[in-house]
Structures are given as structure tokens and as C-alpha cells.
Amino acid sequence: MTESKDALTAELARKLVETLGLDMAAKAVDPAAPLIGAGLGIDSIDTLELVVMIERDYGVKIDNRAAGVEAFASLNALADYIRQRRPSSPA
């Protein structure tokens, strides 16, 4: 795990808690745990809220179910998904 990925994961955790109004600390989000259908109580509307946030803040689209399954597998997976597709991001 690279340092920049850690930073992105931490940033996403913060945005996740903030965007969805979750009653927990960003640090408490397990980066390897599934985002949907697990302990966070995230549902389909939350997912759409995250889709908008990710496109707005990172320029990365998640516009079909398969992409959603991949991106929201975990916080780490989401960070990977963004890093792989982010426009003009360093390789």
C-alpha cells in the first residue's frame, strides 16, 4: 500500500462520513470492509450521493451497476477505482 493511496483512502473516509451524515468517526471506517450492505447502513440513495461526489471531486464516473459493484466493494477498492481512472493523475 503506497502512501498516496493511504491519503486518498483517508480522504474518502472523511468524505463518506461527511456526505452521508454517518454517526461515526472517519477513522472508524474499515477500509477493507464492504461499503454497502454491511455495518455502515449505506443504501442505494447513499450510493448515488457518493457517485455524484466522486464525479464532482475526482472527475470519475460510476454510471452502471457493474462499475458500482467494483467501486463500492470497499474503501480501498474505491480508492483504487478512482486512481485507475482519474484524469491526468500520476500513474
Binding site: 452521508l20 454517518l22 455524484v52 464532482r56
Partner: protein
Amino acid sequence: MSGGGRAYVTGIGAVCAGAANVAALRQLLAYPKRCFQLPTAFPANGPTAQLPVAQVAGFDANGLPRTHRIALQAAREAVGDGPLPDAIVVGTTTGGILTTEAALQAGSGDPRDYRFHGLDTVAQALAAAFNVDGPVFTVSTACSSAAAAVSVAQALLRAGLAQRVLAGGADSLSRLTFHGFRQLQLVAPDGCKPLDVNRTGMTVGEGAGFLFLESKPEQGRRALAEVVGTGLSCDAYHATSPHPEGTGAALAMRRALADAGIAPSSVSYVNLHGTGTPDNDAAEARAIKQVFGQKLPALSSIKGLTGHTLAAAGGLEAVVSVIALDENLLPANTGLENVDPKLAVSPVLEPTRATVDVVLSNSFGFGGNNASLVLSKPTSTPAEAATAELPTLRIASVACLTGRGTVGETLAALNAGEFAGGLVPEGAFAKAAPAAFIRRLKRLPRLMLALANTAHLGSGTRSAPDFLAVGTAWGPLAETQEFLRKLFESNDQFSSPMDFIGSVSNAPAGQVALLLGAQCPNLTFSSADRSFEQALLSAALAIANGARNALVLAAEAYEPRLSPLLDPDAAAKPCDGGAAFVLVPDDGAPGARIRWLGETVSEGAASALLARVAQGDPGRFDVVALGIPAAYASLSRHALTQVAAAFPNCPVLPYRDWLGQHASVSATAAAIAAEGVVAGALPFAKTPLPRRRVLLLQLGRRSTAVEVFA
């Protein structure tokens, strides 16, 4: 009261993409040709606007907003040159949002630019056009609004409260709905294909559809059809997703068929909600099979032709149902290429001539609000005499929220001679529901959840309510404001899906149903300062029809940017809150009673309402508790003269002096009056109530009267 006045359809009016009137719609149904296009009804530029819509041609001129103009055209066609309606029920969600959007984007601080924001302004435009003295209702239950409006109209006719009702709905395209559905990823890039294996979503549309309903057709006016049954339900499952098994949808259909006394096997044709989203069509197909079993009637969705006209859809499709009955025509499922085999249904592929005796039409909306209508060829059974006597309701429990807090805190302040208006303190409603439940909710749904929960718990009933009616003049303003702000700030690119979902007027009512597990009918009235009174009336009609209880609530939430621009009440001093009631049939148990007495246009008719309310006994009431919205403050001198003439020796207490100014404060006044008649004194100015009877009178553009007694 069922079996009273009937609901004959003696006029229809329609506007939708590809059809400017009913004749054009008949032609369009016979020779379907879809005409989706890129939107031009609102400023639409850039990559995010490249999605087709079902736009109506014309209606661009200045003056009244687009929704109002579309509504007026369809309503005029439905009324025709026959007798005028004595009541109006309009379903709408957009109202004048197009004009509000433009004003917000321009940063206007001029209240005149926002004067059409209130949903009530659509119905008021119709009331003015047809000189309607009687009640004028606005129902806002998202995409089931117009169908729910028809059900309210049917209840009014059955109860004998009206003889001729104009009912239906209208919505225009707007940035709010277009970008809202886009952000929810529910819009089909290539136009909707209901029931198709490759369906990817809906097509946002606009339009209007109205029925002219008469309890007894006037001479020479031909009945085209009859509304014989209506059914409402709430999924109580999710804010936007339908229940996957279609439980709520099936419940609405079953209730409509039971109301009509018609067996499923007698239905000739089902007009599906059929939006073309993967989830809706799957859930609806399951629901259809639950209701009809293996032998399904002919069925189709017309949304591949008209797009989804949102709040208008139930009205437009009621008109289509009437045409189907009148012409013996099964409309086609336009846009369909390959039926999704998983749905296991066989929709009508081409317009087909066949005997059509009974049609069931479905409309489902956000908040899990479902409405089904059953229409038949006109029957010849004579109508029984309808009674105009509404049942008296016992108030089983009451809750209110004011600037001082809950009922107890409000009474304490009032008894101490203090003002109880202002903004509801956070602490009074913070524990509305579990934290996880309310994490995404803003002020109005939280206020309503707290009110509903307190009243529900206070009633001691464990089971969910039998009927739920909500009133809110302004609805979820913070959600609307936030959605548009983010949208404009990002040049029409990004906004919050949550805020869009939360922006529909019935979103808070949907949350209440979720919290209480209430699958009962769930109506939201958005009729300016009359919203509470209309919710109360609908509850009385439901109880007259056999509901065992009803939860009625009305509330407003102050929004710092919009409220002062929209409502002169809010411009003076921020104030919000409301009240909730659990109502049951009058069973003789001790406690307060409440009764809706009437609604009429104020100018020229308020005196008649007062005379009727006095029932020949000017000493009937201890007190007239009077509410005059700030927008109508100029009426007060004249109003006081009228009230003094009708009730010469009765003290008149302007309750807004104690409770503050907001559009649902009449509900709060009713809650305080309910406590007062039991205690024997009203806390306002420590007024004794020897007869234990208070008249709650509200005088605005229209007047309402409600009595509270013990």
C-alpha cells in the same frame, strides 16, 4: 357514506407531448408516434442536458408559469361550456418551480419573483378561471398526485360535499425534476422503453390531465365513463425504491377494486404506471400477478408515448382510461421492442379495438405513495341521496411544536401570558427517531417525524394508523433550495440526489409512514394556509368510509433564504412548527372533538360560511379563534366586522398574536384549543370556555372553519 353521490366523467381535458388536446390525444393513441426531444422548456446547455424529454409544444409566453398555463388549458377543455365546478382538486409537484429556478439563479431578492412558488397557485388559477366558491385542494404525492386527487374528488362527491368536481393534475418540465432524475440515474439516454428487456429508465415529461366529475350528469351532458373505485396505499419501504415484491402497489389495486366492488376478473385493461425504470416495471409486474393471478387482463404503459408527466400522470392516464372505455381501444405499449421475459407479461403491442368495460389505472410515486383508479363505462344505477354531514372525530391524542417546544412547554408559556411563536428549538424534536433513521433528513421531515411519533405514541395504539394525512404549505424548502444551489454552482452538473428525493412535498409523509410502518393511504395537501384543514377533511372522509383512526399532521419548516421571499408570514419574524392529531370516530369517550365545517372563497362568500357555521345560534361558540395570514392582513378590519356580525357577543382571539405566523399555525391553534376545551379555558388571554366550544376560523384568500369542542 359510500353509495352516495357517484363520480360520472362528463368532461376530459389533456395536454402532453404530441397532443395539445383530447382530440389530438385520441389520434395519438390510435396512431402512436413518440416525439421525444432535447429539452428547451428550461435553460439546458452542456453535456448534462443531452437527455431526451417529452416536452409539450408552446406555453413559452410570459405571465403565468408553464405548469399553470398547461393546467388551465387542459382544465378548460374538461369543463367545456357546461356548468362550472363547485370544487377543484389538483395534483402537482412542480407548481411554479420554473419561475423560482430563474429567480434563484438570478439571485433575486424580490418576493414578487417567487409569487408562483406555492403549489396552491396552480389550483387558485383554475379557481379564478371557473369562479369556484367551494373548496380548492392541492394534493402533492409525487408521481401519484393526480390519481390521488381523483380519489379525493370521488370522496367529496360521495359525501355530497360537492356535485361537480374538476380533478386531475399538471406538471411542467423543470431543472429540478430533469436533473433530479438524471442524478438518480433513472433517465433513459435513448427514451423510455417500458417493460423492455433493455429498459434503462424513464423519460421525464410534462403535461396535464383533468376529469370533470359530476354526481349526477346535467341534462344534455353525456357521461363518458364513471370513476367507480379508488385505492391508496403506502409502501412504507423506501424513500424512492418500490417494494421489490410490489406489496404496496398490489394493496392500492386491491383497495381500488374493493372500493368499486369489482372482481379482478372483470377488469378489461390495466393502464400501468410502467415508467421504464428496471425496478418499477419489475415490482409492478409482480404486483399485477398478485392481484390478477395467472389470467392477466390486457395491459400496457403509455409512457413510451407521453413520457412520465410526473404529478400529471395519474390525470393524463385517467383521461386515457376514459378514451379506452369510450372508444373500446386498448392503447399500445409504445417504445417496446422486446418484452423482458422475467416480467412474464404480454403487453398490448399495437393499438387494438376490443370491448373495454372496466379499466384499472396505476400511479406510483416517491415516498412509496401508490394510487389506483378503477373506471368503468357509465352505469345506470341511480345515485343514492348523499349526506353532507361529516362525522365528528374524537381527538385521541395531540402533539404540537412551537417556538417554546412541545404541548406542555407551549401551554406553560401561554398560561404565563408569554408569546409561544418563533422557531422550534432543536431539542424539542432532536429525538424524532433513531439517529440512523434521520441522518439524511433536514428540518421539515424531522419536525413531522417528532409530531407524528408523539401523537401516535400518545394515542396508546400499537398498530400503525389506518389513514395518514399531512398538510404543508411550503413543503421541504431547504431540500429544494440546496438542490438548486448546488446545481447552479456546478453549472448544471452536480447536485445531491438526497436533496432531490427530499424535495418532494410528500417526502416527510413517506418518512412518517416508514417510521410507523403505515401502509395505509397517505395524502399530502399543499394548499397554502388551508393545508391542515384539508388534511383534516380528508381524514373525516376516510373515517366516514370506515377507517378506524387517522393520523393528521401539518407543519412548516423555516428556511432562511426562501421562507422570507415566499411567505409574508415569515418575512416579519422566523417561525415554524405545527401539530399532529390521532383522530378516531366519536365513541363517546371523554376528550376533545374536532369537526371540519367548510372552506369557501373569502370574497363575497365568507359571510355565508359564517352563517352556516353559526347554525342559527350566534351564541354557539365561547370564542372565535381567528387566524389571518400576513399576506391578507389588509382583510382583517373587514373580517372582524363580518365575524362580529355573525357572532355578536363572542370574543374574537387572533391566535397568531400568541402562536406566531406560519402557514400551518392553524393546526397548532387546534391543538391548543383541544387542550383548552377539556380544561375549560383557553390559555390565550385566559379565556373561559363555559360551553367548551371554540370556532377556529381562518381568513385568507379562501376561508376555512373548524370547530373544537368537548
